[in-house]
């Protein structure tokens, strides 16, 4: 290459793979794997695994020949990370695909606007089930709303105490420990707790949506506390001091400076907590039970919720039941998705601004 003879340790140049090398390797690897699959009659899974393995081995090997050792290691680690990413993505995409493909056919206007009460059909003259999840949709929204109303204030105030007042004292440490313990409560135990609590107060056989809200809030509170605490700790102390130095009392500093600065993260944490509890089945089954009709009263009688609806429909073991279960699952995922999008928008609006 160069006219002057320089020793290996002083050489600054080494070969370079072309920019399209990874794509070329990927293409070749899957082509080879596809050929093998055709010849040996493999399934899709074997084809994907072998193709991926060939790519992960071939690219670093090629690099080792053309480039230097460090570049080869870099290519190997990059390939492994991309492979891990792809593997993680598989179940997610698969799940969403299956739920959408099986759920879409079930979703009709009637599905969304009817409950499951049997009514006399005026045309056929037979008793027919309503065949919809309106009652479950309303129930889930109400029970979850109740859980939010209970757990967000408690969780936020706990986090404020932990960050601003109980930083190093004994009470703060005890609360942190208890919150950690609470994170590990099995969800059915939360349901049993709500059941036992209301049985003690109102007598045996009490059923109301609020019990479900209590059970869910037990599961939500630790997540809300943890995320709000982390976010408020990230607020620089400089800002608190700037506020104190203007003669602003501590509580106003917390309300007007600390919380607004951390708001985006706090909202994200709350939405994650909601997403976690909205699909809980066991505590709702224990505490709220199941129902066939729409019930909009949180403090009176059983309510249907989407997870319980999915479960009961699945247990019918009929084709209509399965279809309704998939439809319910799709609706549930859609709700979580919408919540996440709303949280994104809100935290974008409140995020600290740095623009010019």
């Amino acid at each position: 290459m160069s006219a002057v003879d320089i020793s290996r340790s002083e050489r600054l140049y080494s070969g370079r793979l072309p920019a399209y090398a990874p794509y070329l390797v990927l293409l070749t690897a899957f082509a080879a794997s596809g050929l093998l699959a055709l010849l040996l009659g493999w399934g899709l899974v074997a084809f994907a695994i072998v193709g991926g393995l060939i790519a992960v081995v071939a690219l670093p090997a090629w690099s080792a020949v053309v480039e230097n050792r460090r570049a080869a290691t870099d290519r190997l680690v990059t390939s492994v990370i991309w492979a891990a990413f792809a593997v993680t993505l598989v179940p997610l995409v698969w799940l969403v695909w299956v739920v959408i493909s099986k759920g879409i056919p079930a979703i009709t206007a009637a599905f969304l606007t009817h409950d499951m009460v049997q009514r006399l059909d005026p045309v056929t003259g037979k008793l027919e089930a309503g065949g919809g999840l309106e009652h479950a949709l309303i129930g889930t929204l109400l029970v979850t709303l109740g859980a939010i109303v209970i757990s967000v204030p408690i969780g936020l105030f706990t986090a404020i105490y932990l960050v601003e007042y109980g930083k190093n004292n004994r009470v703060g440490r005890i609360i942190t420990f208890l919150v950690d313990v609470m994170t590990g409560i099995p969800s059915i135990v939360a349901g049993l707790f709500a059941l036992a609590l209301f049985t003690l107060i109102f007598g045996v056989g009490t059923r109301m949506g609020l019990m479900g809200s209590i059970a869910l809030s037990l599961l939500m509170i630790p997540t809300v506390v943890r995320s709000a605490e982390e976010m408020m700790r990230l607020v620089p102390n400089d800002l608190r001091e700037a506020s104190y130095a203007l003669g602003v009392p501590k509580w106003r500093t917390i309300v007007k400076v600390v919380i607004p600065t951390a708001l985006g993260g706090i909202i994200t944490g709350v939405v994650l907590a909601i997403s976690r509890v909205i699909g809980e089945t066991a505590p709702l089954l224990v505490a709220v039970g199941a129902a066939e009709a729409v019930n909009t009263n949180l403090v009176n009688g059983r309510m249907m919720t989407l997870p319980v609806f999915i479960m009961t429909q699945y247990l019918t073991a009929t084709p209509e039941g399965f279809a309704r279960a998939w439809g319910g699952a799709l609706i549930l995922i859609a709700i979580v998705m919408v919540l996440n999008l709303v949280a994104r928008v809100i935290s974008m609006i409140f995020a600290p601004k740095t623009g010019r």
């Binding site: 930083k167 190093n168 620089p236 400089d238 800002l239 608190r240 001091e241 700037a242 506020s243 104190y244 130095a245 203007l246 003669g247 602003v248 009392p249 106003r252 500093t253 007007k256 400076v257 607004p260 600065t261 708001l263 409140f350 600290p352 601004k353 740095t354 623009g355 010019r356």
Partner: protein, 259 residues
């Protein structure tokens, strides 16, 4: 509106550790007082006791008397929040509120104290404070943009505007130029000269030329040894301090023959 501050026998602690001991001085009204000294000698700590910001740190406490117009700041009946409204502070690093616009940052002291302001009054305060901080011409067309979008020097002047918007009697500055370039530093020093007409200013600085340029009186803090509390070595008019100091260690520190 400017007030003088009398300090007598002040000891400052962080928990059990005595950080500063036996400070006596009188800070004159409508003048600039500078504190100089090596790192860790307690000049910032002492500055923070002048508006009771010291006690924000857990375990921190103060002994002795600091009186402003006859009222002891550390009297049990005194509300630290009221003290801080009277004695404003500018910090080492510019710290505008990230969620607020330039306009809201200037009004933060008023708004956060839930003072109800008419639009015209608010506009007047913003313009007066920003003009006072020499920032008005640079930002008057973008008052609704975020304060974090300004340059470091502009952010620091925004913080000064924010501090003077609540019309304190005393303005404390904790190394206000240490994070700034020479041009921004010059802008802030000019500003200090102008503010001196209406405020009592106390400034901590590591830059002795700066102390010589801006201050009327200077206090030199030092440590006897590492781990020992800091103390006030000498407090004199700046001119005397930099030409003919009373104390040998002051001369050594100022002339660079220290240690």
């Amino acid at each position: 509106m400017a007030k003088s501050i009398d300090v007598s026998d002040v000891n400052i602690y962080y928990g059990d550790f005595k950080a500063v001991e036996g400070v006596n001085m009188t800070i004159k009204a409508k003048a600039v007082t500078a504190f100089i000294g090596p790192s860790g000698c307690g000049k910032s700590t002492f500055l923070r006791t002048l508006n009771r910001m010291h006690e924000v740190i857990p375990g921190a406490r103060v002994e002795g008397k600091i009186t402003v117009s006859g009222q002891d700041l550390y009297d049990p009946g005194v509300d630290p929040v009221e003290v801080r409204r009277m004695v404003g502070m500018v910090f080492q690093r510019p710290n505008p509120f990230p969620t607020m616009s330039i306009y809201d940052n200037v009004l933060a002291g008023n708004r956060l104290n839930s003072k109800k302001l008419k639009r015209a009054e608010a506009d007047a305060i913003v313009e007066k404070s920003l003009r006072g901080a020499n920032l008005w011409t640079e930002v008057k067309d973008r008052l609704n943009k975020p304060g974090m979008g300004l340059s470091g020097g502009q952010q620091q002047r925004l913080c000064i505007a924010r501090a003077i918007a609540v019309e304190p009697q005393v303005l404390l500055m904790d190394e206000p130029c240490s994070a700034l370039d020479p041009i921004s530093t010059a802008a802030i020093e000019d500003l200090i000269h102008e503010l001196k007409d209406s405020y009592t200013i106390v400034i901590v600085t590591h830059n002795m030329q700066q102390a010589a340029r801006v201050s009327d009186e200077t206090g030199f803090f030092n440590l006897k040894a590492a781990g020992q509390p800091g103390h006030l070595v000498e407090f004199n008019p700046t001119k005397k301090m930099f030409t003919n100091p009373d104390n040998e260690s002051t001369e050594a520190y100022i002339s660079g023959r220290f240690g």
